[in-house]
């Protein structure tokens, strides 16, 4: 309901329209009998001003109220009548008054339902019985408050209600409380009053959990990462492609793939769009990217593994050196980080309120470290890594801390991995047979991109596959793609959820996947 980019002027205009509409409009209750009538003999002065609305079924004869957004409610509307449609966040009755907090995403405002000449006790009682999370329509006058309303985003005004209608009622028993789900996590404050919602309860009831201001911000920022990724690559001449998820053969030996029954046969779910990106390069698309689901049948139950995640993949032909591609990707990350910092500061700050984290730092241009130099840095810190050995996750994290201390950057590129630890299609280093033209990229010490120059020569690719003990008949169609002329090329794949998790300094990738999938979870 909250629309972006609306000016105050427009808001005022709308409020005036709403005032007129409020005068004309008359909400019709479906079941007038359901409207609580006062048990006493008093006439209900509020009759027809509260109750349960009929289900909105797009009745063309129903009145068309104009609603004001909570974010636009402030002192400038003092004395005006408005209609607001929002969720009942919390309410408390106190004698002849009922205080309600209305919520639209991260925006909240206080409503006062107060017994008066036009508001009956019955209406106050009805209002105080509306269950939390119900969506309600409220007609009210905007009133300045003498002192700021604590805990509301709109703290300089409150709404004095004249009508209150339930649009969509919530069950009274909520599986989780939005307030609990929104409570800040302060390290060291583990006392019993600090009720939190555990992760499975959150995920089982994701349609509720996602209503918190933090989750609204996380997924707006996630959409932002995709937008910045696409806009940056589009400006660089990349073309978006769509690659199939159902594939006939498991490309890298068949481990960790999900099997699909496909009519009378079977197929697999793609672990990456790599083959297809490379075919697009062999087909002269020159620079391509794709955003889509990627599947890994790994039985890994860690903070950073999902069985299905969103891959941001790109591939690019180059002229002379794969660094043309590596630096394009590095520059892409710089543009994403700058875009997030400049355009999503509100979202970052909302998330930080619940999950405090150090601001994400980066250098421009990004730091590029050689693998062998990283080994030396690790050795200076007492960790010895063999010349042809890969980095374990804890060692990657240590390296991240060393790099952060030395260069003050949370992002860097690690170039020239040992050939032995990379897939068969990785191009060896022309000057050092133990090294390769490959790179990983890191955020806060965790890998978020793996990439390389791929071998574009079919004979050499076959030779390398054999060296890795791969049955070349099984990858014949992959090799085929390079037999009819293919430019040298390189690329990489990024895990969206990891990027968002690490950018925001969150502790679990399930916080940045809207409906996460892991070995134990395929619902909701």
């Amino acid at each position: 309901m909250v629309e972006e980019g609306e000016s105050k002027k427009a808001a005022k205009k709308e409020a005036k329209k709403a005032e007129k509409a409020a005068k004309k409009a008359e909400h019709k209750a479906t079941n007038p009998s359901e409207t609580p009538t006062s048990a006493s003999e008093e006439v209900d002065v509020s009759k027809g001003k509260y109750g349960n609305l009929p289900m909105i079924q797009s009745d063309p004869t129903a009145p068309k109220l104009t609603f004001t957004y909570i974010k636009d409610l402030n002192e400038s509307l003092q004395g005006q009548n408005v209609w607001v449609r929002a969720r009942l966040h919390t309410s408390r009755a106190r004698g002849k008054q009922c205080f309600i907090i209305l919520r639209q995403r991260e925006f909240t405002v206080q409503v006062l339902v107060n017994v008066s000449e036009t508001v009956s006790k019955a209406m106050v009682k009805f209002s105080s019985n509306v269950s939390k999370e119900s969506i309600i329509d409220v007609a009210a006058k905007v009133a300045k408050v003498p002192s700021a309303v604590a805990g509301c985003s709109q703290s300089d005004v409150e709404l004095v209600a004249s009508e209150l209608w339930v649009v969509s009622a919530s069950m009274p028993q909520l599986p989780l409380q939005i307030e609990d789900a929104s409570r800040p996590e302060k390290p060291g404050e583990e006392d019993s009053l600090n009720i939190k919602v555990n992760q499975d309860t959150r995920l089982d009831n994701r349609f509720l959990d996602l209503r918190t201001a933090t989750n609204q911000a996380i997924f707006r920022l996630e959409a932002g990462v995709c937008k910045l990724f696409r806009d940056s690559l589009t400006n660089k001449g990349f073309v978006e492609i769509h690659t199939p998820k159902i594939i006939s053969a498991a490309s890298e030996g068949g481990a960790n793939v999900f099997t699909v029954s496909y009519f009378k046969s079977s197929a697999y779910l793609a672990q990456s769009p790599q083959l297809y990106k490379q075919m697009a390069i062999a087909a002269d698309f020159d620079k391509v990217y794709t955003i889509g689901a990627v599947f890994r049948a790994e039985d890994s139950n860690t903070h950073r593994h999902l069985t299905e995640f969103t891959g941001l993949d790109l591939e690019m032909a180059f002229q002379h050196h794969y660094h043309e591609v590596m630096l394009t990707i590095g520059n892409l990350f710089t543009e994403i980080f700058k875009g997030l910092r400049d355009q999503y500061s509100k979202e970052i700050s909302l998330v930080n309120q619940q999950y405090p984290a150090e601001p994400f730092t980066f250098l421009e241009p990004p730091l590029v470290l050689q693998y062998q130099n990283a080994r030396k840095m690790l050795k200076e810190h007492g960790v010895e890594i063999g010349e042809e050995e890969d980095l374990s996750t804890p060692v990657e994290k240590l390296l991240g801390r060393i790099v952060k201390a030395k260069y003050d950057t949370d992002f860097y590129i690690l170039d020239k991995y040992p050939l032995a630890v990379r897939p068969f299609y990785t191009m060896p280093d022309p000057q050092n047979p133990k090294s390769s033209n490959s790179y990983d990229m890191f955020m806060r010490g965790e890998e978020i991109l793996s990439g390389a120059q791929r071998i574009h020569d079919p004979k050499f690719l076959t030779e390398r596959a054999k060296h890795h003990g791969i049955d070349v008949t099984k990858i014949a169609s992959y090799i085929e793609a390079f037999k009819y002329g293919c430019p040298p090329h390189a690329g990489g794949g990024i895990g969206l959820e990891r990027v968002v998790m690490l950018y925001l300094g969150l502790d679990n990738v399930r916080k940045t996947s809207m409906f996460p999938r892991d070995p134990k979870r395929v619902t909701p």
Copy 2:
């Protein structure tokens, strides 16, 4: 290799740099023995000026030539020396000359390798033996031609070669000829000289087939549809989300779903992101869209069915009437059509050269037809459809022709479908119990979007599911999402490949899916 938006000025500058580079640079052949030496006793004056380059392995000591793009070659570069890296499209030897056509996507230029003081017979022979589709580097002088070069996009100049190096050799036997795959389809011209490439050969060798100018244009335009879809919705306040493809239960009764083995259990591939879009609405995201793979296990082998396609889905909360959403979608299509017309005219024209079609017409705002009025129009044309009957595909096509003749539009919205033909979650019409708040949208008489107001009231949803004979225990988690307050909402899903097919007037959805999947095809 072709970069967009480069000015002529930049091209000239580059050409000058290239000239300098050309003077300095010396390409090194890996196997000088492979360089054909003249059988005669003559000294090869071109020695070191042609041959097979070593595989580009990102050697930092290799010369860094600056290449000129074919699209930038024109009379203004007359007399300048340039380097070009491109595919050898065709070549023919004629005595002491070899004519080569170089290709970069849709751009082509003629190269002359001519025996001279600096070009040996051996070099001409080598050049004429380079197989089609190989990628080569050519050093050449730009020369104006007295009469236009037929069949080349750059018709006012040719290149007079001084060096020629093979960067990536193609196998000499091609599974299909790019020329054949590019040949225009003119109705009625089915003679034997008119060699065409059949669809399976194309799809089996997609990395070759995609090299045609037509295919380059189709997939650039397809990327354009996605960009226009996203940009339009982002401007309207929509948020992009990502929904899981692996789901625990088949949402609509279990027909037509693919089963996935999921660790020790099994799961399904999502037929649509609808449940997840709706949960996002129940979770206050207000307006959402998602682009992703959608799976249908239908054994339909038609021109418009795929088992995996790209879904453009959106869902939106509304205030009073689902037409708020329907017209938002209508307006979205107008913006897409205008964007294609204005920004992709070159691509449309390239596709039309091979596959002629009438330009796509649309009205602004779009035409909205009532289902019952469409029935009347059909009746006037002799086709009777029952009040609660659906339209068959041939009837939809007839209706498209009637609408086109009457309103001159290839796009329209058909509103208020009979309730009986829509899924259980469709909101009935409040004024006519046989009708519903649902709509389809059509392009050139074929359905490309299906949408509706969804029932947001859990009790009524349960009632309607029971009415449809659905076991409500199986959709309990779907119904659950609406129990804690949900705004009224509507949405729809669009098949990307169909939109592109119908916009361009193509005859098969396999032409607009880069790597199509159907009951008989899961490769490449």
